[in-house]
Amino acid sequence: MSIVLEVKNLTIGVRGAALPPPVNDVSFSIEAGETLCIVGESGSGKSLSSLAIMGLLDRHALRVDAGDITVDGQNILAASSEKLRRMRASTMSMVFQEPMTALNPVERVGSQIEEVLRVHGERSSRRRRARVMEMLDAVHLPEPERIYRSYPHQLSGGQRQRIVICMALILNPKMLIADEPTTALDVTTQKQILALIQEMKDRFNTAVLFITHDFGVVSEIADRIAVMNRGKLVEVGSRDDVLSYPKTDYTRMLVLSVPSLVPRESTSEFGEVVLSVKGLTKTFSSGGFLQKSRSVDAVKAADLELRRNEILGIVGESGSGKTTLARCLARLIAPSKGVINLKGVNISDLRERDLRPHRKNIQVVFQDPFRSLNARMRIKNIITEGLTNYGVSRREGYKKAAELMHLVGLDEAMLDRFPHQFSGGQRQRICIARALALEPDVLVADEAVSALDVSVQRQVLDLLDDIRAKRSIAVLFITHDLRVAGRICDRIMVMKDGDIVEAGTSSQVLGAPHHAYTRQLIASAPGRHWDFENFRPFPVAPGEDISIDTQQ
């Protein structure tokens, strides 16, 4: 086999700042027809390495200090920008995370793909069109004629990513760099795109450099794995070696942090019902004055019960209505119909003034730790805001804030700091502390760990579990990730298009799902064949014994 990409001792430095190099002495190589996964947490330098290979580094901010990059025998670092331009798409191409921003929103996708051929010298428009059609067919897009004439917004996320892949591969490059290409997609779509990349690799004998943070995805597609941490290459090896016998503590910790699709054994004793919901419906309508009004049922007659000391997971893909449900429960929006019984009081149609005494019983932790704290306030004032709202004195509040900081594993000396001085995981801990300050009975965690790195994710999940035990609080855990839900939830509800399609204990839902959609979700969960916690493949993957039909 021939080596397509060779990176030797690559070091990338930051211009005009005495910072440690974001990429430090990194070497790896990829052969034709091979997939190398670079795995690492945010800030590990994995994306920068790939940009350097494409010759796309921001020259004003970064520079290559040392090393060599050779693609198909060509020295990239010495190449002129004209030569690099010619090599892109024809020798090496790239697929990014967000397909919407990678496409021009005001041009039909067909002509965008054709443009790649045109700038690389294909004169005949008939041949260009024929080649595009052939390629659209190769990436399994239905009705290529219609797709050719579509604008990006008329396609689904998965279809857009197929277009991007089609564009990247149309000149049959020797190497494809895929930078988190499925992170923005739903799991069922992710599975299809991963399969497509595999298929294309085999068909065109392409070398694939796949960048991801998700070991589940890695276990699905990697031939070899390179683990990066803080700019350094920690470990390189074949997939099974790295996943089964990680050589370094860092890799071991990363692999161990990946939730496998194994439901937790529910050992906790549940208390009384603190939240019960009946027939909750939320209808969004648009239009109105002078326009045709359209309405969408985001949540359709949802019922649920949540008991003290219980963690209930609500799992669904984007657009399933899970977040709308959570926002209704926390009364951030008013439900259209239904009853929300919070500790014996129906809060579904209370007016803001009457609602205030009950707000403290239900608190929310949001997804984005960077936007959920007011940047202008000190941590102590953020945590005590709720307490002061309910008339607790400032001194008492600060005392409580110090206790809460200990509870969430932070130092009380940090109370005087501002949010920007904390990392994402620490901020999420602060959000949890803030939510707990009012001693709520129900904590709603809306994708609370989705924006975090796996290792941090695991810590925050453990923290939530710990708090549940210490405070005997009820937690409503909303997530798109079945694996995460399996790790922490006692019961799981699956939502699809506003309906709750399945509900049961975690072991029921994950072990013996009734609904076809649940089965499809389980089958799509990346890395379900691998038992990360025990560093080995599952003899029988969870959910494997069920007959699954994933073809849609």
Binding site: A330, V364, S372, E385
Partner: protein, 291 residues
Amino acid sequence: MTHIPDPHVRPPSRMRLFVLHARGNWPVTVSIVILLLLVLMAVFAPLLGTVDPTHINPVARMMGPTAENWFGTDPLGRDIYSRVLYGARTSLVIGVVAAGASLVLGLGIGVIAGYFRLADMIIMRIMDGIMSVPSIVLAVALVAVSGSNMGTVLVAIIVPEFPRVVRLVRGVILNLRSEPFVEAAISLGTPLPSLLWRHMIPNTTAPLIIQGSFILASAILTEAALSFLGVGLPANVPSWGNIMSEGRTYFQLLPGMIFFPGIVLALTVLSINLIGDALRDILDPKLGGRV
């Protein structure tokens, strides 16, 4: 100009950012110096070799620059140098008061429009209406009703200007409403006044500072234009517009009456605009970050 406040940028570092920016950018440095000089001149006008700017001296009419009258005298024998210096006072007072009043009015109404859906519809339609009134037409009408004075000029400038601030603030508040930290505050039971005061209004300061600088410049310009057209300040008040207005007919004999106030006016507005641009580069995360 829609401005989405960046919650990661903390305000205390902004002043330092501005100093850094100004140091690396000579037009901004020069602008700051000019503006400072102008403010000092306006404040210390009586100590800078001026005479009473309204003092009429029939003996020394329409003279070119002399050792006594540095910029010469006008057809009534008033000292042009003194009138230009005192005119700076007028311009700055008009500018600062107009900008301040527009910001305060705009912030108050904009917050209401941004937070309350129902009020939004009504308020914004009214604002659209007000914005369609040109300040000069309004000034002519006001002068016809109540005579020309400082009040009419201010009203004529503020009325067409503040709806722009309303729009700006409304946009920022609308964006902030869906920010998680605001929703978190709501679920913590934060009463509406402190929700607005603690979590929302502080995030409007950056766009308001920028908008304020542009209103300041345009108010000074509008006052000069109104006075020049004779619907601004009374003729005896020293104002750059008035001086130029009187000098118009004598331009060939006394070009200084147009040039001296004209140059000072242009420099002032240019400096304020340059500083405003610099502020926007720093405070607006979409354009900033290149410091």
